[in-house]
Symmetry: C2
Subunit: 327 residues, 2 copies
């Protein structure tokens, strides 16, 4: 019998969410555990697998499950390891796919969250039917998953697609990014980046803004969005600025892989047109002539709550029913 | 019988070179015609094929030839067309593969020159055995061919790999590039770019340099190299500046596809270490931490005179002996 289900794991620094998924992209049931509570990786895996088994048993047992896909910070598709992830409790190299596969008795594949998101978009979402697209996740940071000829690009070492850490501003006054470099697009076009822009502009100018009613250090991208929706000029300009910078980089990315579309995903895309319009304008202004107005800019159509689980689960649909257990 | 030869065409705005190549990458014989003399594409193709047949007949006839590969400006691998090439005498869309295939009676494939160079490097050169690398050609302009999982990246429309037109300087004073945009790496790190840097620096400063003995408008990248070799400080700094800018962009490219190596090819690489050192330093300074000092920077090992023909010829090694004639 064809095994009808896969499991998707969305591992974040705070929470780990997981769910059982069918071939149509329905999340049948799901649950979560607190990543940060487990400083011992063995205990984390024991608990995670125990909780996943509960979901599985509620739907007919592990014999119906093809495999487990995981999206994790610094997940390496080639090795199945999580390698030196800054935001997870476990240091060094964690053989995650192997540990899960041993406990669950089915194959496990691991990649980073943005690559998982790209897989999800291609399998169930806005990129269905596309062979060439670039997924950019605009969350706390900026991640990316690149698909060429229908396959996620992993590169020589498994870590391809770190577009959030390409540079948009190259002078010495450029913002310091979490990665230790200056001027990365992540420092400007992430949710944090938008908040930083607001904080900087409020501190270095005396322009009026309803954002001044908030304690500067606490301002979030959501606050900036709310202010923009109320017509606040400064807040609107922040989205204009953010979109312009991101669009400039997207033009560079198009020159690399000539994608059919660029798909944006993540918290910041909730801003909608106020962000999309300047990105689109800037992208088309900066791109090589023959791509002008030809590359689609799309926002993800997957439900936020399900997207990461779906993406991770999409890693294992092509696993053979009797494939070897690891990787 | 296995057909032992392929033909490679290297089409430039001035000359078209072509040669018969064996499986070891030996150019058995070669010849050329003047591209610019033929404003009629039919006449050009007639002459080219007539001359290629002479080479073929001297080595045993067309039955020994598997196919023809062409590297041409704006060559589209998917369609076999040359599309709107600014530096060629023929406007609009030229169905080049089809025209050559009809006349020669063997399949023809066309791509752009930098993609052909990447194929050549992978088949016969510095990238032999590599599955993931980026080829950057530093000639009059800056071209690129990207190889991922052993295949040249063509993208959604066949035009992927225009890295010469990604931006390195983003302010309004950035140099105008031939493509109509400002600040492209091609305007700085090509042979022309080096000459422009020299001209600018000589005009806007009064720093001493033996380059001042030459008429400013005539200075070439070769002059700058010669001056640097004689210890001229300004000339040495020009290579330092050029290499630094290029290295910054290479760091961005690494974040995209995580290549095993970046391979540089073309006239400017004759400068050797004086160019390579600053590129390498800047690349490793700007790249995401985990790629620091891990991605090889190599100069092409193919003979300049043969490389473009070899590269183009490499497009057709996998053609089946009895494949259909076009594309």
């Amino acid at each position: 019998m064809e095994k009808p289900y896969v499991i998707g794991i969305d591992m974040g620094g705070t929470n780990t969410k997981f769910g059982l998924v069918d071939a149509r992209g329905n999340v049948l049931n799901s649950s979560s555990i607190k990543t940060q509570q487990y400083t011992d990786i063995n205990l984390y895996c024991d608990t995670l697998c125990h909780e996943m088994m509960k979901l599985v048993d509620a739907q007919g047992g592990i014999d119906l499950v093809r495999g487990v896909g995981a999206g994790a910070p610094n997940g390496n598709y080639y090795t199945g390891n999580i390698e030196n992830a800054a935001n997870l409790p476990w240091k060094g190299i964690v053989p995650f796919s192997e540990m899960i596969s041993e406990r669950m008795g089915v194959p496990c594949r691991t990649t980073n969250d943005a690559n998982a998101a790209a897989m999800g978009e291609m399998t169930y979402g806005a990129a269905k039917g596309m062979k060439n697209f670039i997924m950019i996740t605009l969350g706390t940071g900026v991640g990316s998953g690149i698909v060429i000829d229908g396959k996620v690009v992993y590169g020589h070492d498994g870590f391809a697609g770190e577009l959030g850490h390409t540079k948009i501003i190259r002078d010495s006054s450029a913002r310091l990014c979490g990665c230790g470099q200056r001027g990365c697009i992540e420092a400007y076009a992430s949710a944090n980046g938008v908040a930083r822009t607001a904080q900087e502009w409020l501190q270095t100018t005396d322009r009026p803004s309803i954002l001044r009613q908030l304690p500067i250090a606490d301002i979030t991208s959501k606050d900036v969005f709310d202010a923009a929706m109320q017509g606040d000029e400064l807040a609107k300009e922040i989205f204009q600025y953010t979109g312009t910078l991101l669009g400039q980089k997207l033009a560079d990315f198009i020159a690399f892989s000539a994608p059919e579309a660029i798909i944006l995903f993540g918290g910041l895309t909730k801003a909608g047109d106020i962000l999309k319009r300047p990105i689109e304008e800037s992208m088309n202004q900066n791109v090589v002539r023959f791509w002008k107005n030809k590359v689609k800019l799309l926002f993800s159509t997957l439900k936020d709550s399900d997207a990461a689980i779906l993406g991770a689960s999409a890693l294992v649909w092509d696993v053979q029913a009797h494939a070897p257990m690891s990787k």
